[in-house]
């Protein structure tokens, strides 16, 4: 894919940008620097203040929305001929602009806390902290608990984790818009799959256990005890601070977005996001699947190449196997790219094994 780019400046730029060329590496470096400045220094604050934002986080939210809108325009110019793509991207951008930027901006003007409705525990790990639940009004605490423990798993069971990862979530939204030019860079090697399986479940485990520990120290332990300090203290090495720095800042921001131009746009979602891991388990048990039309696949590789989660879709398609993978975020690009219309996302009762057709025109004599 990295052609030698002699078809004019635009093509040379685009190839370099999209295929780990110098421009791609510089883009990655720029993103990483931005996130380091944002999370670990105060350099962004004066810029945010000069633009009239209450905090650097609202400024970041504004930039985030702009990138998503620009990326959505780019994505739809290429793939907008599918109604699924149009509705999905419009919803995702709409949710981000309304629930993750405008509402948090406006709510304090009405005496309400700055609340991000579209981020759910365990992705927003702080949502279910005992302190948070006590600090917000009751209706918001009920919302936090209800979405995390009831609505999210149920919806994932019936519609797959895509309802969140590809329609609501801001991380997924940025990946599918701004990150779309790099989606073919996601590795589909066995090695990357082993890495993903270990790390995504490890982070999920840590997210759940740490939330449990926070409740434990809050309701059981004395605030002055050593255990309390280790778990919920304010020193940089306390569990609470470490999780925020490692998972929330480094993995989700610096690595997750900074490495878009190198490892594809779903580095965070695929390898580290505790929400994706958890919803993936419900998806695996649930009704979502990718249906394969038997004996029509020509093994071209468009589906596998353009899968942003590194799933080797082609291997299922060429063996006539409808499937559900925990990793699949249901972006629908495999079905969209397929030149033979072999793949289709659907929510349906689980298939009986005998419906996996043989389809071979072989007759035993």
């Amino acid at each position: 894919m990295d052609q030698q780019g002699q078809n004019g400046l635009l093509r040379t730029f685009r190839e370099s940008w999209r295929n780990r060329g110098p421009i791609g590496l510089v883009t990655s470096g720029g993103l990483i620097s931005f996130y380091l400045l944002l999370y670990f220094t105060d350099r962004i604050d004066p810029i945010a203040a000069s633009l009239g934002f209450r905090s650097k986080w609202l400024f970041y939210g504004f930039v985030y929305c702009l990138l998503m809108i620009a990326g959505a325009a780019y994505y739809l110019s290429k793939h907008g001929n599918s109604r699924y793509n149009r509705v999905r991207i419009a919803t995702n951008v709409g949710v981000q602009v309304a629930l993750a930027f405008t509402l948090p901006l406006v709510m304090p003007m009405f005496g309400q806390p700055e609340f991000y409705f579209s981020y759910v525990w365990p992705l927003d790990w702080y949502k279910l902290h005992p302190q948070t639940l006590q600090a917000v009004p009751v209706y918001l605490a009920v919302y936090s608990l209800g979405t995390a423990l009831l609505a999210a798993p149920l919806l994932a069971y019936f519609f797959g984790k895509r309802w969140y990862c590809s329609w609501v979530c801001g991380c997924g939204g940025l990946a599918n818009t701004f990150g779309d030019p790099w989606r073919h860079l996601t590795s589909n090697s066995t090695r990357s799959w082993r890495f993903e399986k270990f790390f995504v479940h490890a982070v999920m485990f840590v997210a759940v256990i740490s939330t449990f520990l926070l409740f434990l120290v809050h309701f059981v332990n004395e605030p002055s005890s050593a255990f309390h300090t280790y778990v919920a203290g304010d020193q940089w090495w306390s569990m609470k601070r470490l999780y925020g720095a490692v998972v929330g800042s480094i993995l989700a921001g610096v690595v997750g977005t900074g490495l878009y131009p190198i490892f594809g746009p779903r580095v965070w979602c695929r390898n580290f996001c505790p929400m994706a891991a958890m919803l993936g388990l419900f998806q695996k048990l649930g009704r979502f699947r990718i249906a394969v039309k038997p004996n029509m696949c020509i093994s071209c590789g468009n589906c596998t190449t353009y899968c942003e989660m590194g799933i080797d879709v082609r291997s299922y398609a060429q063996s006539n196997q409808s499937f559900t993978r925990a990793a699949c975020v249901g972006c629908g690009m495999c079905a969209h790219m397929c030149p033979r219309g072999v793949l289709k996302l659907e929510n349906a009762p689980r298939l009986q094994p005998e419906k996996r057709r043989q389809g071979l025109p072989i007759v035993d004599l």
Partner: protein, 476 residues
């Protein structure tokens, strides 16, 4: 058992895998002049357009040869000695002995019958070498990443008549620029693929089609007009009913002359069909049909003992009794698997079942099931054109009061459901009533709606066909 497979396309590779699954000890040699790795030939156009890399179109990991114990022989096969049971190889290599031989050497492009096709800048779009030529002309070179390590290994051992010889690239002559006046000749699938690649590169292309409309073997004039309009929307100059007379130029092609006029051309892709790649078997005592296809029986065995054929080069028996090749990806795969079982001694036979295929023509999905454009005795056609949020065409062929075929453009359809309806001998009103069940469109696509008046619209007579004689529809 010593098994030799000529060709590592889908038929050869599926056969090798099927044999290995059953017999861990068989010595399997795969002879290929074209490439080191098995790749999907149907995906060449996306590599040429830059959408996929060379490695993306390889369905299996590259270590499949050592992992499965396949011996890979990069050489041109020169002939088969059916008495001694050996395959002769080019380049002075020792002959390969076999107990069972599978010939799965596929197709080669049909050369243009006009003067001037030997000029530089005239090529085809069938082999890996064609792809590299096309990529080099359009983009200045094939993608570096994922390029096969040894694409030209066959050179030392090849003959001049090989379809796997690299062609001269004219890009340097054009000061490093892509062609300004490319032309594609031949109104079939490979032709439109080449046109799409050129259109994607933003180059105005002339598309010369001998017939009065594009792809008459599969589409009728109205359906074809649908596709032609899409091509024109993308800036393609489509020339219908225009015959090439000659190409001219000093060393490289400069003009293309037709019966309607003369056009500048600095790159010509000749895509007027493929033919079985079997001229290397001329002196071998293996029966071939007039077109060169290896005549096989229902067990895919050739006229010589222990020699089998599968894929594009095998002339199999069709539903109407004629022998000709089935040049499709999945039939090649099925034939490879079946030939392998037969080579292992299974008493299995090849039966094709209801025909089906699909393609994508520009941005239009195409699905066909059953007998369409086949000149069936007493055939009638029902046609509906959808214009709205989705543009699509639906054509259903009816004979003796039952549905025998479907042709669709613009939407996706589940061919297994349609196949079942044909086998169940359903009548047209029933099929129209239940058509939604066969829909395979992506989610949220507005459903196809057909008014009762449209459903009751009169049928029209037989669709134009390349089949000269009418045939009775087989009892499904």
């Amino acid at each position: 058992m010593r098994i030799v497979i000529i060709g590592n396309g889908v038929a050869g590779m599926e056969a090798a895998l099927t044999i290995r699954e059953r017999d861990a000890k068989a010595k399997i040699s795969i002879v290929s002049e074209e490439s080191d790795h098995f790749f999907s030939r149907t995906a060449l156009m996306w590599v040429a357009s830059g959408q996929l890399s060379h490695q993306c179109i390889e369905p299996l990991e590259r270590d499949v040869y050592p992992r499965m114990g396949f011996e890979r022989v990069r050489a041109r096969a020169l002939g088969v000695d059916i008495e001694a049971q050996t395959v002769e190889l080019a380049g002075g290599r020792p002959a390969l002995p076999y107990d069972r031989l599978l010939i799965a050497c596929g197709s080669r492009p049909r050369p243009g019958p006009w003067p001037g096709t030997e000029l530089d800048g005239v090529g085809h779009f069938v082999t890996l070498q064609d792809l590299e030529w096309f990529e080099a002309e359009l983009h200045g070179g094939p993608g570096k990443k994922g390029r096969p390590q040894n694409p030209d290994a066959h050179l030392e051992a090849s003959s001049q008549n090989s379809p796997y010889l690299p062609r001269k690239v004219l890009r340097a002559q054009r000061n490093g620029r892509p062609p300004a006046h490319p032309a594609v000749v031949g109104g079939g699938l490979i032709g439109i693929e080449a046109v799409e690649v050129l259109a994607a590169a933003g180059i105005e292309t002339h598309f010369f089609i001998r017939e009065p409309w594009f792809w008459p073997i599969a589409l009728d004039d109205r359906e074809s007009g649908f596709v032609t309009r899409r091509m024109q929307d993308h800036g393609v100059k489509v020339h219908l009913s225009e015959n090439i007379e000659r190409l001219d130029g000093t060393t490289s092609v400069e003009h293309i002359h037709t019966d309607r006029g003369q056009y500048p051309a600095d790159l010509v892709v000749v895509a007027i069909g493929v033919m079985p790649n079997t001229d290397w078997l001329e002196s071998s005592a293996i029966k071939r049909d007039a077109a060169g296809g290896l005549v096989v029986d229902q067990g895919l065995e050739c006229s010589a003992q222990n020699v089998f054929a599968a894929g594009d080069c095998a002339s199999v028996r069709w539903w109407n009794g004629a022998h000709r090749p089935e040049q499709l990806w999945y039939t090649a795969r099925d034939q490879g698997r079946l030939a392998a079982r037969r080579m292992l001694g299974d008493q299995v036979s090849y039966q094709r079942g209801v025909l089906y295929n699909s393609a994508k023509l520009m941005d239009l999905e195409y699905t066909t099931v059953g007998l369409v454009n086949m000149n069936i005795e007493g055939e009638q056609n029902w046609y509906f054109e959808e214009r709205g949020r989705v543009s699509s065409t639906t054509r259903i062929t009816v004979a003796e009061g039952r549905v025998i075929g479907f042709n669709f453009l613009g939407r996706r359809w589940e061919h297994t459901v349609l196949t079942r309806w044909i086998e169940e001998r359903r009548a047209l009103p029933w099929v129209l009533e239940h058509l939604g069940q066969a829909c395979f469109d992506t989610e949220l696509t507005p459903p196809l709606q057909i008014s009762q008046a449209e459903k009751d619209a009169p049928l029209f007579g037989p669709a134009p066909s390349v089949m000269k004689e009418t045939t009775r529809a087989p009892l499904a």
